[in-house]
């Protein structure tokens, strides 16, 4: 930079332009990226998730202000004190005690403010459930979620139904390795640790379907361990419970009846339960009302006949490493099996 003379004014303009371009680029990108993000933490539907979001936004802006001030000071020094030809040795300052005390206290004040806001949120996140809370056991398996409602007698998988505006106490367990239960719009995550009783309470406030995902690395198919939470009115929830409590519906067509016969052929009996049939396996998800779920393969695929056929043809291709074993079936056998399973409303 030596020798190139610029007035302070033109230099400032250059700096402004240099800062403006990346800022504009970022803004454009941010707008472009404002697509649909169903799993975002920024659209809370419970008190717990809202507390976390508000805290996040507050601390984020506090950090942005800090960032601008500190980086600004850094850039100012770099530009203002650039070496110019003929510069001698600058004044040799070694320190300044009042200043140093000042900038020890400043960050201390900032973090005290954050702590003061954080602590009540920690305790409210850990609040106890009201006595009439709905009890749910969520059990992590490699790589799917089992949901039990002990008071209602319902057992299902990968799709958690909850009534709106009622406390729910969710107890987290694991059948094998660590998993983590995370539905960003409902609450921050809590781990599922084998041998440990973790639980939390939430009260969903808005009906809708919310995606969740395992958030603790649990082996090969960790990325493919997803689930959905369906928050619905009490009446809808009750109807769902009634349907879940019933045994499986009998196959309605000849094809589906053939499919029921193929359950043995496919080896399904070893792991799955379909109440009302001979299937009482405990290792895999309960399939009694499989056809009524919106997704299959732990929230991975929409529950359509085509997807069911893909899954049954090659579960390892869709979810590598999973423990489902199924022999190769003929096209006719697959058709029948798909028809039967899709009929299990």
């Amino acid at each position: 930079m030596q020798g190139r003379r610029s007035t302070p004014l033109t230099r400032n303009r250059r700096i402004h332009a240099a800062l403006l371009i990346p800022a504009l680029a970022l803004a454009v990108l941010a707008m472009a990226a404002c697509g649909v993000t169903p799993q975002t933490t920024l659209e809370p539907t419970t008190e717990a998730a809202r507390t976390a979001r508000d805290l996040l936004m507050f601390v984020f802006w506090a950090m942005v202000v800090t960032f601008v001030l500190v980086e600004g000071a850094l850039l100012y020094c770099l530009i203002r004190f650039r070496r110019r030809s003929g510069d001698g040795i600058p004044a040799q300052t070694h320190g300044n005690t009042p200043l140093e005390i000042g900038w020890t206290i400043a960050p201390a004040i900032l973090v005290v403010v954050i702590v003061v806001l954080t602590v009540p949120a920690i305790f409210s996140n850990a609040r106890a459930a009201s006595p009439d809370a709905l009890q749910v056991r969520a059990i992590g398996h490699q790589w799917w979620f089992e949901f039990q409602y002990p008071d209602l007698g319902v057992v299902t998988a990968n799709e958690l139904h909850l009534p709106v505006d009622r406390d729910v106490e969710i107890q987290l367990e694991s059948n094998d390795v660590l998993h983590s239960f995370w539905v960003p719009s409902l609450r921050g995550k809590l781990d599922m640790v084998p041998g440990r009783d973790n639980k939390f309470t939430i009260k969903p406030e808005v009906t809708g379907t919310y995606p969740g995902q395992c958030a603790e690395f649990c082996g090969t198919a960790h990325a493919l361990m997803k689930f959905y939470v369906v928050v619905e009115t009490q009446a809808e929830f009750d109807a769902w419970v009634q349907n879940e409590l019933a045994d499986s519906v009998a196959p309605a067509s000849a094809l589906a009846r053939e499919g029921e016969a193929n359950l043995t052929l496919g080896g399904c009996v070893a792991c799955h339960t379909i109440r009302g049939t001979d299937l009482e396996g405990k290792l895999g998800p309960d399939l009694t009302h499989m056809g009524s779920r919106k997704h299959i393969a732990a929230g991975l695929l929409e529950n359509t006949p085509e997807n069911m056929r893909r899954w049954l043809s090659d579960p390892q291709d869709i979810k590598p490493g999973n423990t489902m074993v199924i022999p190769e079936l003929t096209t006719e056998q697959l058709d029948a099996l798909v028809a039967y399973l899709e009929g299990l409303k």
């Binding site: 954080t118 660590l178 995550k189």
Partner: protein, 610 residues
Amino acid sequence: MATVTATAPDTRTFSGTAWSWITTVDHKRIAVLYLVTSLAFFMLGGLEALLMRLQLATPEADVVSAERFTELFTMHGTTMVFLALMPLSAAFFNLLVPLMIGARDVAFPRLNALSYWIYLFGGIFMNISFVAGGAPNAGWFGYAPLTDTAFEATHAIDFWAFGLQILGVSSILASINFIVTIINMRAPGMTLNRMPMFVWMSMITAFLIIFAFPAITIGLVLLLFDRYIETSFFIPEGGGDPVLWQHLFWVFGHPEVYILILPAMGIVSEILPTYSRKPLFGYAVVAYSGAAIALVGFGVWTHHMFTVGLGPIADTAFAISTMAIAVPTGVKIFNWIATLYGGSISLKSPMLFAVGMVSMFIIGGLSGVMLGSPPIDAQVQDTYFVVAHLHYVLFGGTVFGLFGGIYHWFPKFTGRFMHDGWGKVHWLLMLIGFNLTFLPQHMLGIDGMPRRVHTYAADMGFDLWNMMSTVGSLMIGFSFLIFIINALRSIRHGEPSGSDPWDGGTLEWTIPSPPPVYNFAHIPIVDSRYPAWDLKRGGGHTGAVATAPEADAEADEPDIHMPNPSYWPIVMAAGMVLAACGLIFHQAFILLGAVLFAISLLGWIEEPAG
């Protein structure tokens, strides 16, 4: 009684040269070995990262399999932490600590060589797993019970566990060596209060290693018991607790973060004053805050476990201690900026990297404060937000700082400059690529993308950020190639730098480049923090280095005796690693390793040290 001339190896032949490197105990040559090896592993870890980024560039991609992806992120983390950044810091300890404190070598030169060879063999041992039945695949944190034989029956985890044990030995030996060197071998007059800041940070790092590594050592021993003799320390069915592993791992793992960042902070604390021509502002406070960070760093480990369910009291306590670390960290940054204030700032490539370190580390520190709040952490823990945060600290902080160090001290290693223009290109590309890679990952985390996933669905809204991130990572890779080419070319064809190209203030700039094997012809007498500046600028502290060092060197060379070269360190390291191989491949190796170890131990004891 060996002298310099007597021990000088015959470097005219290739085998003579190779032998001289294999048997070297010279801290400067060991520094070069560390530097080259750690950069090679850095490249390997970087390639692993690029493969992951290619897989994640688009949703539901099929570049690598899910199984391979777990190996890639496990080995990327393990390699970068233990095989690239720690040893790269060790290269700087080796090169600089003796030079900066006015010593002729480290306290235990053969032990120093042993540390290096254990590191090299340990790193190779761990990576052999890729072709010997599968690489480690449970994450660099290896959370139980996923590491148990019930879930991983192959030797993948054993390679990881034994590999980390071996590398731990190397780190602890090196740390003891440097603590003893720094405490005992400083030149007359160099009180602790006059030590260069890099030496301060080296000493604190060495203490951190000594106190932190035993925790993971114990954890790994228990893990290996669980795997080999079916105990159940971490297995709930047998009465164990998987959370115990997490405590042991993070009691080590959090100080490890400071082990990785403090050396870079030390480097920056040397570079900023040099290129501003001003002493470090608030020297004592910068040193104390380094010590404070290290101390408090032992009391924050469960902030890695806010989602484990330890309860609101524990979460509150550790949130407070975590936030407290922001204070000494902030103080360091303010002092660095105050060092620049009023200076005469020359923006050569080393300075650009140092400034890049400060400004990127700020971002990592600020996102760290966000993560320190448990309700926020519960949302973004185990997401790409944390990936972004840790890379702003360890890449934005450590890697930028260490690269700054390479550009700054390259002339001292080689007597030649690295090309400054290409250095600036490297810096700019790396800065842009780095931010393009990791800034969007904050958004990914907040939008709900977990980490350690090998794929994501197209309808999650993750596409754009991931594509940006991949493009950025390729830029980083490209910038690294520029660096390698620049470095290789500069070794032979760089512009000669002379002994003091940057107007440095510390002792290493008072001796020739590259330094003679004995470093200092006369041990200097120090009476200030920047003795070389005093020498050049006059004014008071003339006792520092009273005579021109080059003239000195020729006059006194034959009379200085240095430690003999020794091949026992490499034999002993080979013995150790062979024994570990025995626990995986065939028991015969255990015996072979033990015999080698015993022989080398005897040889070591009997050997005249020079």
